[in-house]
């Protein structure tokens, strides 16, 4: 089974402890070819970095929009496994982002 690892740490701005904003989410999605990683893999390990202050829903929403629309909520969480390298509680902003994506596109 082809498994890919996506490390969000790689796209941290120097000295920054936050991932916020749609612009940043879009930048990371395009720079990392995130949609292609999903396309080429049967499983994706998404690593949440250590030493984080915040990842806001706006960032997650833009980063994940295409894959969530493609896979749906259930498919997305089956394919993507989230591993936390630190202690930041990413779950709530992540769930909010997924909900936003699906609700805005009337998939819910």
């Amino acid at each position: 089974m082809k498994e890919s690892v996506f490390k969000l740490e790689k796209y941290r701005a120097t000295g920054s402890k936050v991932f916020t904003g749609r612009d940043k989410g879009k930048y990371v999605r395009e720079k990392s070819k995130f949609d292609q990683i999903e396309e080429d893999s049967e499983k994706v390990i998404f690593v949440i970095p250590d030493n984080l202050f915040s990842i806001n829903p706006s960032f997650f929403e833009e980063l994940l929009i295409n894959v969530v629309l493609k896979l749906g909520k259930k498919g997305f969480f089956e394919k993507f496994e989230f591993r936390n390298a630190g202690v930041y509680k990413y779950e709530k902003p992540l769930m909010d982002a997924v909900d936003r994506i699906l609700r805005e596109n009337h998939a819910l």
Binding site: S16, K17, V18, T20, G21, R22, F53, S54, N56, P57, S58, K89, K92, P93, D96, R100, R103, E104
Partner: protein, 192 residues
């Protein structure tokens, strides 16, 4: 046959008269369709505005003001308190982000039933408000317990976004054309 006039029997003026009648009739028909379509569109817009008033303004707008009141209460501990640790700021940030999540579920999402662009515009503004504060909170070089710096960086930021959001709601007229003008004004206001 004696009632049918051929063109050979008509003078140039009569030909012009008949052509004019046809053209005027055609224009009248086109105008009638246009007025019908325009009136239908206007009625739909009025209906949309009525629903906007009922669903958003009369029923749920208190949530908007409660959010800002809660936001100020959440953030104010930073002012005049030099002893706040990074962990304290993280807790404050988490509380703020969670408030936005609740507001989206209770209030902002309702806008989808009225107008998609209105929803997007409002959500974007709230995201930028919260993202901006997150960035400032995470900046350890920014001395937010100094009242002047707090007022400049936080209070002013909140006030700007609250005003702009209120403008969006006040100026919503139910159609996307006025919306595009409004979005342009928002961008001009924030120098984007």
């Amino acid at each position: 046959m004696m009632f049918i006039q051929t063109s050979a029997d008509l003078s140039p003026f009569e030909i012009i008269e008949k052509l004019s009648t046809i053209i005027i009739a055609a224009c009248t028909l086109v105008l009638s369709f246009y007025i019908y379509y325009y009136q239908l569109k206007k009625d739909n817009k009025n209906l949309k505005l009525d629903w906007y008033k009922v669903i958003i303004i009369e029923s749920k707008f208190e949530d908007f003001f409660n959010f800002f009141e809660g936001l100020n209460l959440t953030l104010i501990p930073m002012k005049n308190n030099p002893n706040l640790s990074v962990n304290d700021k993280e807790r404050i940030n988490t509380a703020m982000v969670n408030s936005l999540i609740e507001l989206r579920l209770d209030f902002i999402t309702l806008l989808l039933s009225v107008d998609d662009m209105l929803y997007q515009c409002v959500l974007t503004q709230f995201d930028e408000l919260v993202d901006g504060i997150t960035t400032k909170l995470s900046n350890e070089d920014l001395n937010l317990n100094d009242p002047e710096i707090y007022d400049e960086e936080i209070s002013k930021h909140i006030s700007q976004y609250r005003t702009q959001l209120l403008k969006i709601f006040v100026e919503f007229r139910g159609d996307n054309d006025s919306y595009k003008r409004l979005i342009k004004r928002v961008k001009d206001y924030f120098n984007w």
